[in-house]
């Protein structure tokens, strides 16, 4: 029996191209300022039009400053790239959410605003010029990261030339222990299956642990599918999904919503669906997890030693010795944000740890909400005060220090406890900067302790 992947693939297959690839219709196209300008230039050169402008939505996130978001931006390149996107969207009739323009209050990281606006829906195909597009799979969509020439193709034809993927079912069963989060689950999966393990596969996550997860948690899981090599990650839509979508600005309303739920249930994988591979993960055995290396598969449980045969290049770059622990590593910077962990629930979990404590004197700590809507919701709950009282900087929405295309970057060989998704060499803006990936609660714990610690010790204090 078919999986959701196959159902969605079949529903969106336009035709088999002469090459044997499939022409796949793209239901939702999301664009941002960094990977789209060249695509617009190409369609302009060829005299193509945008085929379905109402199916493309734009925002600015990658380069956008998070300190002051008043236009014009102080960073002239950021201003130029935003202006170019504004002109392109205006010329082709595409909805843009950017600071300083109408709809600007909806600006945010493209993978945060899609779901929160109700644009992301089950059964859709979604493409965006960003590898973390897999995030949208949390709502039962099949979502692909693409390059700029493919952005051009989607603009021009609302479709892509693709080969189908195999499907690996990843069952996560059991109860996560307190202080263990979706981030720890996905880091554990990537460690187990490897950073290349998902090449050629879509990852379908399920099992009792995933069934109980909120959509925010599911997004954290699907977001990092690409770090395991899987271009697509998804979770079958269920009542949690439908409740999340209902009432959002672009969600179907009234009787249409009822009909939509019916269709969404139909396209999900059936219990007897056949998979190319099945993997089981025991949730109860997962520890708070931190990376020690230069790819997201190089991680350990917080009390675990780095393997004695660990990769030499990674150890040297990071300054760790084989057999050592990451626990106790002094940090310089703490970053809470990104499309992986920049949502309201992430900030809430971090705030629980931060409340009543203070950032260690030697640590620079920042919170960058994933969207302006996340920021507003957090402010309404007083979270901004919790963070600023503790010595965190409270910023505007954007990708910020996840990839450091704006002024938020590491200096020299600083070590950053980060809730983001990649610990690649140079990722956070300094060629020698070092990234330790972990959950937002673990980042918060590291920020106030000045070093990497087990957040669970602090949870006990919170509860006491």
């Amino acid at each position: 029996m078919p999986t959701l992947f196959h159902n969605v693939w079949n529903a969106h297959s336009v035709r088999t191209l002469p090459s044997g690839q499939t022409q796949l219709f793209v239901g939702l196209h999301l664009i941002h300022e960094v990977t789209s300008p060249q695509a617009f230039d190409m369609i302009r050169q060829h005299g193509w039009r945008v085929a379905f402008p109402e199916r493309t939505f734009a925002t600015v996130d990658h380069i956008v400053p998070t300190s002051v978001q008043k236009r014009p931006f102080i960073d002239l390149t950021a201003e130029e790239m935003t202006s170019v996107l504004e002109r392109n969207c205006h010329e082709y009739g595409i909805q843009l959410y950017a600071p300083g323009a109408s709809g600007g209050e909806h600006q945010g990281i493209v993978h945060v605003i899609g779901p929160e606006m109700g644009l992301t829906q089950p059964g859709m195909t979604i493409a965006c010029g960003d590898s973390h597009t897999s995030t949208h799979g949390a709502l039962g969509a099949i979502a692909f990261g693409i390059g700029t020439s493919q952005v051009r193709d989607v603009l021009a034809s609302q479709s892509l030339a693709l080969d189908p993927l195999k499907v690996r079912r990843i069952n996560v069963d059991g109860h996560l222990r307190p202080g263990v989060f979706a981030k720890d689950v996905i880091l554990t999966i990537i460690r187990r299956l490897g950073v290349q393990g998902g090449v050629g596969f879509a990852y379908e996550y399920g099992g009792s642990t995933v069934d109980r997860m909120t959509i925010d948690e599911r997004m954290t899981m699907c977001n990092m599918s690409i770090e395991g090599g899987a271009r697509v990650g998804y979770i079958n839509p269920d009542d949690t999904t439908f409740r999340y979508i209902e009432g959002r600005p672009f969600a179907p309303q009234g009787p249409a919503f009822t009909r939509a739920v019916e269709w969404w249930r139909q396209i999900a994988s059936t219990p007897d669906a056949e998979y190319d591979d099945v993997v089981h993960i025991d949730a109860g055995s997962i520890e708070p997890t931190v990376t020690w290396g230069i790819n997201p598969g190089q991680s350990v449980g917080i009390h675990e030693a780095i393997a004695t045969n660990a990769d030499e290049e990674a150890l040297t770059f990071m300054g760790f010795k084989a057999g050592a622990r990451v626990e106790g590593t002094r940090i310089d910077v703490a970053f809470i944000g990104s499309c992986t962990n920049g949502r309201l629930s992430d900030l809430e979990e971090a705030a629980k740890i931060v409340k009543g404590r203070h950032v260690a004197p030697h640590v620079k700590a920042l919170v960058v909400p994933g969207s302006q809507a996340v920021s507003r919701a957090a402010v309404a709950r007083g979270l901004d005060q919790v963070f600023t009282n503790a010595g965190f900087e409270w910023r505007g929405a954007g990708c910020s220090m996840c990839l450091a295309m704006n002024p938020d970057k590491l200096e020299g060989n600083q070590i950053c406890a980060s809730s983001s998704n990649r610990n690649f060499k140079g990722r956070q803006g300094s060629p020698t900067g070092r990234t330790l990936l972990m959950s937002p609660a673990m980042v918060a714990a590291a920020a106030v302790s000045g070093e990497v610690v087990d957040v669970r010790a602090m949870l006990d204090e919170v509860h006491a």
């Binding site: 239901g27 020439s149 080969d163 090599g229 179907p252 919503f257 290049e313």
Partner: protein, 195 residues
């Protein structure tokens, strides 16, 4: 757009697994609205860090065929990475495995990514290191990469292989060729028609 059946040129062996696109093209070079000049920044930080980096090595200057190990181009979907390599002069990449997004981005630029067994890649890298002037021939149609007396089985995924040899590797025109079908599929999707 010509058919690409075979590429010949000198090789550039670049050893290492999981070389991500942040390393190929650091994000600060994405701060521009064109791809111009990216050839000057390929592996910039790795080159600075390592004077012996193959991209620093004069004997590989002018190479057209990059030979890499596994999971090359993982991470970010930035087309700036293959754009930089293409503008640098790379016309084909042979490796153990590639990230799918990178492989697709390269294909659209007319750069086939060939996949071969680990030991075959090691032999090829060693052959180039020994004789940098060796002319490598990467045959898309037949799935063979040869270097002097060495010949290895190296294939491009079949859909892309056929696209290369039938000059349809840049697919926009093809995707627009039967646009009525695109409209028909759209019309039949419940979420497009508003449920």
């Amino acid at each position: 757009m010509p058919a690409i059946t075979s590429i010949a040129g000198r090789g550039l062996p670049l050893r290492g697994d999981d070389l991500d696109t942040d390393r190929i093209m650091p994000a600060r070079f994405l701060r521009a609205v064109t791809f111009e000049g990216l050839e000057n920044h390929v592996f910039e930080d790795d080159k600075k860090d390592n004077p012996n980096h193959p991209f620093n090595d004069a004997k590989y200057k002018g190479a057209a065929i990059l030979v890499v190990n596994s999971n090359f181009g993982c991470g970010s979907s930035r087309e700036h990475a293959p754009q930089g390599l293409a503008r640098y002069g790379i016309q084909a990449i042979v490796g153990e495995s590639f990230s799918e997004i990178f492989l697709g981005n390269s294909a659209v630029l007319g750069i086939p990514c060939f996949t071969a067994e680990k030991t075959a890649i090691e032999h090829l890298q060693a052959a180039i290191e020994k004789s940098p002037d060796l002319v490598i021939e990467a045959d898309v149609a037949n799935g063979v990469v040869s270097a002097g007396t060495l010949g290895i089985e190296a294939t491009v995924p079949s859909g892309l292989r056929d696209a290369f040899v039938t000059d349809q590797w840049n697919p926009t025109a093809m995707l627009l060729a039967d646009f009525d079908k695109v409209r028909a599929i759209a019309k039949g999707l419940p979420y497009v028609s508003g449920f």
